[in-house]
């Protein structure tokens, strides 16, 4: 029924005649007859109206929580209207990777602007054009630091467990030893000192970490650098409106999940892996990089550059296989950051910080004891005076999604969207349950 073929059967026949073929089937002469498919067992096509109705029906089985106190790696923030308006422009939406610079200056310049913004945000020298998500960015960053005689990565136990799983998968196949510290809520910098060996290429730490705690990255950097070990910081980009940048902290590579920069939660994707590094690591960066140059008339323009690092040229010797990235998500982040500006970003970050601290105080007042007293950004872990699973269930019935249940504890999150009224309503709702 539905397809996007513009021609009629009569025209197709005309085309077949032009090439001297009886039928379209005759074009498949090289396909062995015994494997040609007799019937494809999928439903018949539908009209647009019928498909829209079917898909909407499926969508309606999801529950959207307007009141949401869960982060744990994916965050709901306010997305300015202009962000969606710009990235849904069909030229940006439908273009291919900008290999043809002459007709791709729009995409190329936007990536160059994105790279610059990521550098500004992280305080580092160079950025690539994006990778698949924050977890893959962390895995790729580790590989940037690996040398012939340094094949171990020391990874904080307080990072996002999903990121850790991805790191382990990548590490296993690339023969990188992943050693995970037994740190629970915060990385013990002093202990790292003993764990670093001759074979250690890098230390990877997340700050704010999975439990929301702001790590003492400077201390970690000084210990690692003393032993000529590089430091990778996985960072929440929104927190950089308030917290010290990776560059200020002295880290070598900053990576992170860019989803909070204007991308909706979307049940987990598409998201954005951003990567930035010091200048000396430029050529180790995986994936696309856009550079500035001039055309033959001396006009400033932008091109994909340092391409000889990449798979399409270096093939089996490439440091990464990445080809498609998350270009449109990078543009989303770029528009988001441009819309907010430095003050707007700072405001978002500070509102997250204040709301989360207000939430923590409010929860403490009704018996949710904090699991630790470390400084945190917009997430924190508490104990629970009642069974967290039961609490989650009861509050879902009231249309509220509480923090992520982790055993007998709960990992809470507040952003600029969780205003006082929202938090107070949560507290009232919990009171009713306990």
């Amino acid at each position: 029924m539905g397809n996007y073929i513009p021609d009629t059967a009569a025209i197709r026949k005309e085309m077949l005649q032009a090439i001297g073929k009886e039928s379209i089937d005759a074009l498949y002469e090289d396909v062995p007859s015994n494997v040609r498919l007799k019937e494809l067992h999928i439903p018949e096509g539908k009209t647009e109206m019928a498909v829209a109705s079917a898909v909407k029906k499926i969508a309606s089985r999801n529950k959207v929580y307007d009141s949401l106190f869960r982060g744990a790696g994916a965050y709901r923030h306010y997305i300015p209207a202009i962000v969606k308006g710009i990235v849904s422009k069909e030229e940006f939406l439908t273009a291919y990777t900008p290999y043809q610079a002459e007709i791709s200056q729009g995409v190329l310049q936007s990536i160059f602007e994105y790279q610059t913004q990521i550098c500004e945000l992280t305080g580092l020298d160079v950025s690539n054009a994006s990778v698949y998500d924050g977890a893959v960015a962390a895995a790729e960053a580790i590989f940037m630091t690996i040398e012939k005689n340094k094949t171990e990565a020391l990874v904080s136990g307080a990072i996002d467990p999903r990121v850790l799983e991805v790191i382990k998968t990548y590490g296993e196949s690339r023969n990188v030893t992943i050693t995970v510290t037994d740190d629970l809520y915060k990385t013990d910098a002093a202990k790292l000192q003993d764990l670093i060996s001759e074979n250690t290429a890098c230390v990877l730490v997340q700050s704010p970490n999975y439990y929301g705690v702001i790590e003492d990255v400077e201390e970690i950097v000084s210990i690692a650098h003393e032993k000529k070990v590089r430091v990778i910081e996985s960072v929440n980009p929104i927190s950089l409106g308030l917290l010290k940048s990776p560059g200020e902290l002295g880290v070598d590579i900053a990576v992170g999940e860019g989803q909070p920069l204007g991308m909706p939660l979307s049940c987990g994707g598409p998201y954005l892996g951003f990567m930035a590094a010091t200048k000396e690591l430029t050529r180790k960066l995986p994936g696309r990089i856009v550079g500035q140059t001039t055309d033959h008339d001396g006009r400033r323009c932008f091109v994909l550059t340092l391409q000889a690092r990449e798979q399409h040229i270096r093939r089996e010797k490439a440091s990464s296989n990445i080809c498609s990235n998350e270009a449109l998500c990078a543009m989303t982040a770029s528009v988001y950051l441009a819309a907010l500006g430095p003050e707007g970003l700072q405001k978002v970050a500070k509102n997250c910080y204040d709301h989360a601290h207000y939430l923590k105080d409010s929860l403490a007042s009704i018996g949710f004891k904090p699991a630790n007293e470390e400084p945190f950004f917009h997430e924190f872990l508490t104990e629970s005076p009642i069974d967290p699973v039961l609490l989650e269930q009861k509050l879902k019935e009231k249309g509220i999604l509480i923090g992520l249940v982790m055993g007998d504890k709960i990992l809470w999150c507040a952003t600029e969207l969780n205003e006082k009224e929202d938090i107070d309503r949560l507290i009232d709702a919990i009171r009713e349950v306990i």
């Binding site: 379209i24 089937d25 690339r174 950089l240 010290k244 003050e343």
Partner: protein
Amino acid sequence: MKLLFELSSADKKLDLIPDCDVKSYGLEEKYLRKEKPALPELSEVDLSRHYTELCKQTFGVNDGFYPLGSCTMKYNPRIDEEMASLRDFTDVHPLQGEESIQGSMEVLYRTQELLCEITGMDEMSLQPAAGAHGEYTGLLLIRRYHQARHDEERVNIIVPDSAHGTNPASAVMAGFKVINVPSNADGGVDLDELRKVVGKDTAGLMLTNPNTLGLFDPNILKITKIIHEAGGLCYYDGANLNAIMGRVRPGDMGFDCIHLNLHKTFGTPHGGGGPGSGPVGCKDFLKDYLPMETVRKEDDRFVFHNAEHSLGRVRSYYGNFLVIVKALTYILTLGKEGIIASSGKAVLNANYMMNALKKCYDVAYDKTCMHEFVLCLEGLKKETGVSAMDIAKASLDYGVHPPTMYFPLIVHEALMFEPTETESKEVIDEAIAVYTKLYQLAHEDPEYLHAAPHDQPIGRPNETEAARNPILRYQKEC
């Protein structure tokens, strides 16, 4: 045109975020950023116009014919976008619990099932975010399979010399060594050479079929048999599935695992380089190694399933979910007859175009092609000095996106065309006229072509300078 940073002025900003309605909490000085990041500051109008200007300098699928070989630049239906922007899909947290994301899980489940049927696979993981990511994941399945059998001397992945660059790069990332195998005179895998390189060290073969020359390898069943008899597995690179979907399935040709590119075959937009989606499918005997969290149906409920010996995760969460929504919408729209009609028209368009162009240009392999074909401009270059690059760049001035250039590597001065099924005869006839005209121009005025394009926002960029002295970010002049 100016950069965002050059448009920036400190007195311009948008009023987006309200003042905080709770008290201000302090934080120790040592954690605080000293200087705000130097992000640009613009008014909403300036910002909007900036991107509209950038838009005008971007060639999208709706700007004209886009015959970029091996990239399947077909029309991206609007309904797919509309479905992916439903709030029920965009505003759910990935960790909010199975019972509250049954809709998302149904999308994943139905897409898994449909893709399995289309490819002849038994299980599918939608986690990989792009084609190369899918390749890596599929190769990890092969790695895990041999490891589980303690067959660890199988370290070689065989890759034809016509393969995409991602194939060898993915194989190395997945811990294998790459063995290149040459093509025969017909553009297919050289069976004698293949027999020579297989052995106890063969982990598997990666093959694109139809291959990057646009040719379906008639020896496909022999090829997969040679690999299987040697104890290796066969990996299908689905980059070119658009030619054969609904007509022949990788699973029936002897392939054990595959990846697909939803952003090629299933109509989801490329986004200027991503996000894509690269699902990985496999036969039953490999399913226990699939990445974590595939979706299963139990009665009327959808549940997440972790394979028993899962290779782990290749990214967080379940894949590029909204891209998957678009692909599902697309497949539901086309249905079985739409899928078969689409592959057929894609192949017809390519043959029609090739047939017309071979009146002047040399075709790399002069035989019936699948969804794409490759011209060899070596002769034209010798005769006139005009290169594949010159012809490709000149086509820009005629509103046609250039074909893929200088690929596959085994054809010199290659131009690779993939017209796709969403182009009409009329559009293809116009493109044929353009390339015929360029052929004449190559003989009459080669200098004009060397200097092409002439009517674009910029001329050819100086790529040497860009690579020798990389400027990778804007820096304010002091």
